[in-house]
Symmetry: C2
Subunit: 387 residues, 2 copies
């Protein structure tokens, strides 16, 4: 695999734009469009939160035929809890974009992220859409325009074999996906029919975004979309899945590391659990625990809290077989706190990424989850954010 | 019901003690004994965390016959993840106490709370137990001696009809009970056989501690125990259940309000949900959301986060029928953010208790959950707590 210094515009035939249209008071970029020169096969996964944003409902409708050619995204307002008017506004956005791009409105997908409960400013969106066809380019600020509390752009592109995959994502708070993610938009120039594409996407999302947690709050707007425009022809399935896994896992790590208030990335590797499902439950339970996250922020190797989180995971396990490592330092042996070197453990924790390995010694199930620590700034950001 | 200014020593025939035996470095009280003059019927509920503390295992064994006469409790070290030696230490504690009290070791229950992974200091416990029979009194500092990060004692006593119920509890962090609670010890002089007592306790715990959340981390040491020594004879069942409900709910509120770093109590009343189970899921999901808790700390009526938490609850509901009130101020109507008075909503939130009512307009299910806000001090306490 070759790593490219770009994003959704790296695969052949894709262009995009990112700009400010005045939705955010700060004047920061808040509007993005992704466009494929030709009609693409497409698939998506969505939040399992039962309160779903209007854009998800419209996108799901437009994706029934497995085809898409453009995605229009705004940040600042999520268009959630907005009823019939919210749906109408999302449809109108697709229709206006389609007219500008000279394509069918049914092939335009929409996504929104930001404050819940406000209506989209349709005047600003309508103005923002005027002339977009001429603004599209292959080096756009598209990743920046979809950010909310994110502090860094999350973008990636890889070339594998004959095809290229590019992607952007946003997400920093309200991150506990359980079917899809925050927002993630993936493009490829490989030729893959939409049903197959949906399978590939689901596989990759299960290993990446669905294993990521910032704060246990699953958003109402989560969505991951992939468009395959087929320009370079068919791809080797295994190579494609591997490349897509890589792209999604890297973006999941970027999201976890940029979690609201986070000072470090936490990677929890659970191995030799009774089953893969048990490994997954254990890994997710650990990255989800507020107490574990606070201890990591304080560089405190409080392994009792990790044992507590394992116990709360609902997984099958034998407490007396568990070994736990911080980096290479063993901190738990056979379910008992090991006589580890406290200053060594603390110095491992002070780095900007912490790898925790849990060996369950109970089978062959493996899983990795991605999270972050929990700091004063998490409270600050979320006690002061809007309304 | 009459409210008494005491605790587990209020019902006839109960004495207790609370003192320091040197487990806590601070020199604060860390050791308590509760004693009934006569053998009592007893029942308990325990944590559903699969990693269980040694004291729970020993107490469960000793309660197989539904009888108990004393409870020995220490704070500072929880005796969890301590294997065979942990069990032996808990058994030894019961045996030494039994010798001092002149009763059967099988009728002594044990409980521990504090740091996970350390062994009990058996020398200190053995010294602390010497002469306890003479130290027992009816005005002991027992509630103080079971505290860890708690900032206030949690005790209550009520007289109803012919009987009295007294109780103490501790809990401030790692609070998300799902079968029992933190630690809670309840005494009564009513005569109630242990099986009946277990039913009463389970009913009350389901309405109180199991509806309380500080941080989603269910402890390994949760336990609620009730002892009924029968000294005043039989009690009216309905009156007893009501009084026990009251005692448990009041203690649950005290625990929520004293949640680690909390600045206010949050009471979420869900009414008219499809079923009582749906109401419960919704109420618990709201008090469990970090984002809702941060917004409450910031006095920000961010109702979008409440709608998000409802959506994540896995309950059945119709989004378009939901009305939400902060105090008497309606903030959501038919699932849409209502045009509420922002300064009025903020002033309601600034008080030291916030009542949120969710009318689902979808059936007859009601439930109430108890929680708190999430502040900088939650992070501070948990980033710095031991190891």
């Amino acid at each position: 695999m070759e790593f490219l210094n770009n994003n959704v515009c790296s695969p052949k035939g894709f262009k995009a734009l990112g700009k400010s249209i005045g939705i955010k008071k700060s004047g920061k970029a808040d509007f993005a469009v992704i466009f494929s020169e030709v009609l693409a096969d497409a698939a998506a996964v969505y939040t399992s939160n039962k309160v779903k944003g209007a854009p998800l409902i419209v996108t799901r409708n437009h994706l029934k035929d497995g085809k898409a050619q453009s995605i229009v995204i705004n940040s600042g307002i999520s268009n959630v809890c907005t009823g019939e008017k919210g749906i109408k506004d999302a449809e109108e956005t697709a229709k206006l974009a389609a007219e500008e791009l000279g394509i069918d409105a049914n092939n335009v997908l929409v996504a929104s992220t930001g404050v819940i409960g406000k209506f989209l400013p349709m005047g600003k969106i309508s103005n923002g859409l005027k002339g977009i066809k001429d603004e599209l380019s292959i080096t756009p600020e598209v990743a920046k325009a979809i950010m909310t509390t994110d502090t860094v752009e999350k973008e990636i592109a890889v070339k594998a074999d004959n095809f290229t995959i590019g992607a952007i994502a946003k997400g920093s708070g309200m991150i506990s996906p359980n079917m899809a993610t925050m927002l993630c938009f993936i493009t490829t120039d490989a030729k893959i029919p939409s049903k197959k594409l949906a399978d590939f996407l689901k596989n990759s999302v299960n290993k990446s975004f669905n294993m990521t947690n910032v704060d246990m709050d699953q958003s109402t707007s989560d969505m991951a979309v992939i468009m395959a425009n087929g320009i370079v022809g068919k791809a080797d399935e295994k190579k494609f899945q591997n490349a897509l896994d890589y792209v999604c896992i890297e973006l999941a790590k970027k999201i976890a590391k940029d979690g609201e208030g986070a000072t470090k990335l936490v990677e929890v590797n659970v191995k030799n659990a009774a089953t893969a499902e048990d490994a997954k439950k254990i890994a997710k339970s650990i990255v989800s625990s507020n107490l574990v996250k606070c201890a990591i922020f304080g560089n405190d190797p409080n392994v009792g809290r990790i044992m507590c989180a394992i116990g709360n995971s609902m997984a099958k396990f034998n407490e007396n077989l568990i070994n736990i490592y911080f980096g290479n330092e063993q901190v738990v042996q056979n379910g008992r706190i090991a006589g580890f070197n406290l200053s060594e453990a603390k110095s491992i924790m002070k780095k900007d990424a912490l790898s925790i390995t849990i060996d369950m010694n109970d089978g062959k199930g493996n899983a990795t989850a991605y999270g972050c620590d929990m700091s004063y700034d998490y409270i600050k950001i979320n006690a002061l954010y809007t309304t």
